[in-house]
């Protein structure tokens, strides 16, 4: 593989309503930060790759059309990517393949969601033909899988609350995070209203406005710069309605993880990966993904959470930035994971930096837990 590295990461401040900026303004906020950090100029950008979750989330069809100028794609190649919630991750990978293919030297990629401009829960809960109208947003869709995980693993109820507290404590160290809850604790989480059993309000992600941008470059462009080298990247999918599909522990997720570990020469992810930004929009997905990604044995993931292994100072810190549970501009959420992994190995994560992080993982999932995108970044080429 031709080497590729992230040399600039730009993120907006995440908030429930970014009414101070338009959609192009929001995206440009992230892009400008990424380009400045990368130390490149507009004319150095060879191509632009834009990622975005379903258009119905904002009611703007094909936003790449009216955003082409704001994202600097004028007279340059522009590609728009969509893979539901995993899109931020798959977009970063599409951008990186522009470099690893040898086609381009420096690529800008950006993803976003301005959830306040419409209602994603409405968009995820339409009346489908010939079926009862009982689908109830992403939480309603995933809650039965979490209940099945709890049944299989016999995990105690407080595990979900612990994930909710841990990620929000991390968010308090990240000034860009949407949710800032200084006095968060288990009592507060368990006293919030039940939304979709077994999920309580504070065990669920917020709706956020925000964008994330990355500059991904070849070895020549990255030379002498602080860089996060991409050591492995992969995308996998599975069908929504397929007999034998295990939605609790999806095969596509396992295969995707195996692929990036193999590319990066990782045989023991728990020992060889220093920290991970994993797509956890609902609390129970932390133990579920710990197992799916091979950090923990089957039905044992919750014990990692329980014993503090996923905390900032733990054996395998998960979601140092506060994760999707603290900021969720859906289309950007995957790229934020990928970008935060890069920030860790570049030593630029600020107060939520993991000491001596040299190898980090970024992960995203989407659709009916059917689309997966992951990468491994390293401080060393």
């Amino acid at each position: 593989m031709i080497p590729a590295a992230v040399i600039g990461i730009g993120q907006t401040k995440y908030d429930s309503k970014r009414r101070d900026v338009s959609m192009p303004g929001l995206i440009r906020e992230a892009i400008d930060k990424a380009i400045i950090q990368a130390g490149v100029e507009w004319q150095d950008i060879d191509a632009v790759v834009l990622g975005k979750a379903p258009d119905m989330f904002e009611g703007v069809m094909m936003p790449e059309l009216f955003l082409a100028d704001a994202i600097g794609a004028y007279n340059k190649p522009l590609l728009r990517v969509h893979t539901a919630g995993s899109v931020g991750g798959s977009t970063a990978i599409m951008a990186a393949t522009h470099i690893t293919s040898g086609q381009y030297k420096c690529v800008l990629t950006v993803s976003f969601e301005k959830q306040s401009e419409s209602n994603a829960t409405w968009a995820l809960s339409p009346k489908y033909p010939y079926t009862p109208h009982i689908n109830a947003g992403a939480g309603g869709y995933f809650a039965p899988y979490m209940r099945e995980y709890i049944r299989r693993s016999k995990a105690p109820e407080h595990i979900g609350w612990q994930v909710a507290v841990k990620d929000r404590r991390n968010a308090n160290l990240n000034p860009l995070a949407h949710l800032q809850i200084p006095n968060i604790d288990l009592e507060m989480v368990k006293n919030t209203p039940m939304l979709w059993e077994p999920l309580r309000y504070l065990e669920s992600c917020p709706s956020s406005d925000g964008a994330c941008a990355l500059v991904i470059a070849s070895k020549e462009v990255a030379k002498g710069k602080n860089a996060a080298w991409i050591k492995g990247m992969s995308i996998r999918s599975e069908g929504t309605l397929s007999a034998g599909r295990d939605e609790v522990n999806p095969l596509a997720g396992q295969m995707c993880a195996k692929d990036i570990y193999s590319q990066a020469g990782i045989t023991n992810p728990l020992k060889e990966i220093d920290c991970a930004e994993i797509y956890v929009p609902f609390s129970w997905y932390e133990p579920m993904w710990l197992e799916n990604l091979g950090f923990a044995e089957l039905n044992q993931g919750w014990k990692f959470t329980d014993s503090g292994k996923t905390e900032l100072s733990g054996e395998i810190p998960f979601n140092m930035s506060g994760g999707v549970l603290s900021s969720n501009p859906i289309g950007a959420s995957g790229m934020i994971r990928f970008g935060e992994a890069a920030l860790q190995v570049m030593g630029l994560a600020g107060e939520h930096q993991v000491d001596n992080a040299n190898v980090a993982m970024g992960h995203a999932y989407g659709g009916a837990a059917q689309f997966f995108a992951m990468w491994i970044v390293s401080s060393h080429q």
Partner: protein, 165 residues
Amino acid sequence: MDKAQEKDYFESLISLEYNFTAGSATTRFLEAIAKGNIVGQKCPKCGAVYVPPRGSCPRDGVPTLEEIQLPDYGCIESFTVVHIPIPGNPIEPPFVSAMIRLDGANISFLHLIQEIALEDIRIGMRVKAVWKPETEWTTSLENIKWFKPTGEVDINPESLKFISS
């Protein structure tokens, strides 16, 4: 956000109507359900039975031509209790959205559970369809009002695992 920083915005409502083309496999399913019958389709390679059928097996990529009459009873594969109102959704919370696995099928569909206290619902519980009056039947799974417990012994959820033939 500081009020002074907020930019002007206006509400712009959009609406969308579309015509759903069911395709031949789903059409046969819908014609059957309009008569109160539930018809699944079986994959000739792996043996999986799909309901509602879509005409092919996503595992093997082959047509599922063999049609199988399925009963209107089965079990709860998993479920959630929805406690919040969903925009545009007509059902008052709390309501139970359950993955219903009919006996003989290898895939679940979502439907309501009623006629039981919420806290008594379990994974593996046996349930049966409660149909609307026949005069109200259309080409929809909504001909079933909801599913209710049968009172039989729960099934072992592990037995729902699909083993390819």
